[in-house]
Symmetry: C2
Subunit: 234 residues, 2 copies
Amino acid sequence: MTKFSTRPLYLQLHDALTERVASGQWKPGPIANEGNLAREFGVSLGTVRKALDLMEAERLVTRRPGRGTFVNDQTAHDLSSRFCNIRTVDGRPVERQFRVDKTEETRANDVERERLGLGENDRVYRIRRLRMDGDRPLMVEDFSLPTALFLDIPDTIPDIVVLAQQNGMVLGKAAERITLEVAAPAVSKPLSVPDNSVVLVLDQVIHTLLGRRAIWRMGYCHLGHEYTYLAEMS
Amino acid sequence: MTKFSTRPLYLQLHDALTERVASGQWKPGPIANEGNLAREFGVSLGTVRKALDLMEAERLVTRRPGRGTFVNDQTAHDLSSRFCNIRTVDGRPVERQFRVDKTEETRANDVERERLGLGENDRVYRIRRLRMDGDRPLMVEDFSLPTALFLDIPDTIPDIVVLAQQNGMVLGKAAERITLEVAAPAVSKPLSVPDNSVVLVLDQVIHTLLGRRAIWRMGYCHLGHEYTYLAEMS
DNA sequence: CCAGATTTGTTCGTATGTATC
DNA sequence: CGATACATACGAACAAATCTG
């Protein structure tokens, strides 16, 4: 590996390999073994191992003794549902389907600039849609996506994980702030709950694996008695 | 390190070192350097390093180049507040103070046995108290603690992290399920909110670092406009 | 400010164990 | 059983951060 930077080799390698996945050069499935990667990049086996261990912790790959190292399918249900903590009471992740997409492209407002770390003249796509659990309305979602990162927005919006993938990004960490609000009609109607219902407001920012703020989403969700919000801490 | 088990050496070492902290043999502050630990346990430097790296990820120790490895003070504010995701709107963790403790010792009921993984005749301590942010009531908490793990329950209950420490345990991961409920008088009164207020119900199970379920807590919290719940996901 | 000692961080190499095919 | 690939463990060398005198 050419040494232009003083940054640790295994981190540079991590970024290079992550880029191969993000760009689509490496698709879900097996990749070269540790020894071949070490030769290809001119680093030691331990360095390759450290980079791959990191990527496994980030859920980008899975390593299996005797089998090999595999790029994960980010669109698999358990991976793409990790940015929504809502579960049915028996712990099952919700089925995701979407309705009523509405998209516009405009200059970012103050909140969008603050949440996404944008500049004065940066622009965003705004998407409003209804997230369904099967045939039951679950959450009204308002997305803001920087046009600088999302070049290609199709007419019908797929899951955000897929949308990120189509734009050469892999999603990493996210943080979500929860508050309570009385639902406005624009929320209670699509959710088909009474006008004065109290709903969870989920203010979420999602970063890419390389640390860029890529998605801001406001979610409005009436848990009812069928759903819970599941948080883990350590 | 004597090899009685087929379990990886670095995991055995991890447990041994964790036990030194849990038992109080190692108090917050510097510990022996990697080389000395390797000699003491008869393992290689890399094995010590792997065990300590794991313990750092678990936030049990902090490692600093040129300085050494330090046992963390689990009662420090940033560490003991990690099991409560409630923040003020400006992101500050809440000040924790407690009121109105009420303790009883009794046989575990069905829910307690299920949440804590207890047997038919196991017993628990039940503690109800009011968590304050400064002088403002924040959350009504109902704790259930297995008597098998908590031998020594003082009259005035300190923070659960301290209570665990006094009983030779270090807390690790926790999971929390959130639902919404209309506050019962037993909740709305101490919180001094109206009777029909909707509150967050926080159903939390905390594990020790060695993986035992140690604490079940039901929390009842009225966020209001001053507080938010902060969740992270990856 | 520098020189040297100490400690963790990174990188290399090698050998052996374990899981899978 | 043998071949392959990841997992563990050891050892050694140098780099980078920190502290001391």
